[in-house]
């Protein structure tokens, strides 16, 4: 039940955001600072998702070698900056993680 509420809620907000200016507003009347803030949404939000995924995989801060995820993540980040193909970091990061997990037993 809860999951379905989330699904319908997300469907509604994603549509409203997409429709915002196409349906409801005049695009030329947007404050400059707000438009500028919107341009920083992708780097800020994505980094805020990635950092805990790499350094807090079990919910607590773990920058040690016992946590292979941040190492695999760094490799993936380097690959992502070098190659623009969105598949490259996945193709590089997963095998590195598997290798490290295997090496640690």
């Amino acid at each position: 039940m809860k999951t379905w509420l989330v699904i319908f809620g997300v469907a509604l907000v994603t549509f409203l955001l997409r429709a915002s200016f196409l349906l409801f507003a005049n695009p030329h009347k947007f404050p400059h600072a707000f438009r500028q803030a919107l341009t920083f949404v992708p780097p800020a939000v994505l980094a805020a998702i990635v950092a805990p995924g790499l350094l807090m995989p079990q919910g607590t801060f773990d920058p040690t070698l016992a946590n292979p995820r941040w190492i695999a993540g760094l490799v993936a980040l380097a690959v992502a900056m070098r190659f623009r193909n969105p598949l490259a970091p996945i193709a590089a990061g997963l095998p590195v993680l598997w290798l490290l997990q295997w090496a640690m037993g």
Binding site: K2, T3, V6, I7, F8, G9, V10, A11, V13, T14, F15, L17, R18, A19, S20, F21, L22, L23, P27, A33, R35, A37, L38, T39, F40, V41, P42, P43, A44, V45, L46, A47, A48, I49, V50, A51, P52, G53, L54, L55, M56, F61, R69, A72, G73, A76, L77, A80, M81, R84, N85, P86, L87, A88, P89, I90, G93, L94, W98, Q101
Partner: protein, 232 residues
Amino acid sequence: MTIPSPRDEFIAGARAITPVLLGAIPFGFVAGVASVASGLTPLEGMALSILAFSGIAQLIVCQLIAANSPILVAIAAAAVVSLRHMMYSAAISPYLAHLPARWRALLAFLMTDQSFAMTPMRFNEPGDRSNRHWHVLGTSVTLYLFWQAAVAIGIVLGAQIPATWSLDFAVVLTFIALLAPAVRTRADLAAAIVAAGVALAAAGLPYRLALVVASIAGIAAGMAIERGRRHK
């Protein structure tokens, strides 16, 4: 010169999006796998994809449902990662403002990073523009259908992949793949670093609010750097 018919425009749009499918199909596959890995049923995962049609929103919702976040936090997080669609909406509305509301609603529902990028490209080509909204529809519908197929395959196969493969890590890797091209300037970099730092420092906050706090801090840092650069 003859005006391209709606059908010509639609087919040209479908053709133009083909190279982009190469990137979207694996992403859709990962989104399908992630929904299963996060504990959504196949029906829930498919419904989320059909109704929200946004890889990033789908991934973050899966992650938050897996973490048992409150409903409003999951919806708010999806809204924050979808804020860029508002920018897109503003950017393409000058090309589509003349269309009836149901056309604009349909193209809004189908809007993606890819269709947004292609809309000004097609409209700025020389020649008659009167049927070019069909070009946008052709790109959007094609991507929509291939996306749903990729998600469905991900859901079917994802249920059979053992947990020891750590496929949930593919979700984080997908975000890395999106993050790298999003960082183009020093201000972008500042936004990313501050957001990452705050996300770790504020991780103890209840209701997964760290994501919201970190995003706002990152955006503020980016704007501060941008302002400093302009005032030099």
